[in-house]
Symmetry: C2
Subunit: 68 residues, 2 copies
């Protein structure tokens, strides 16, 4: 499986585990609302610094988000 798909699935799983909407999560991660939507659909190819921004509010590492 592709990295983008792995990130997409991990992100959605962890976000939902927190009970957060995409909007709420986007706010917590300091990224745009639509960007979260795009990433969870595997439609984007984010930079590693963005992955780190996404990882922070979830309490995991950038490495964790790409894992599996």
């Amino acid at each position: 499986m592709d990295v983008r798909q792995r990130l997409a699935r991990n992100l959605r799983r962890l976000r939902e585990a927190k009970g957060w909407s995409q909007e709420k999560f986007a706010f917590e991660a300091n990224v745009h609302r639509t960007y979260v939507s795009d990433i969870e659909r595997g439609a984007r190819n984010p930079t590693i610094t963005v992955v780190e921004k996404l990882a922070a509010p979830l309490g995991v590492t950038a490495s964790d988000l790409l894992a599996n």
Copy 2:
């Protein structure tokens, strides 16, 4: 420590463990020689697909390269 620095150090460590020059490694990973140089100095902010390209010839995952 910053993700870019973690990638930089992991990449350099793993590449040298293979006994490869940046040039040799760049060829194996299908990226430009100078791009490898930039990443190992933490001077670039690559996308996750690039990280995956770098991981392949080292026999590790994209997640591994960002780890630690």
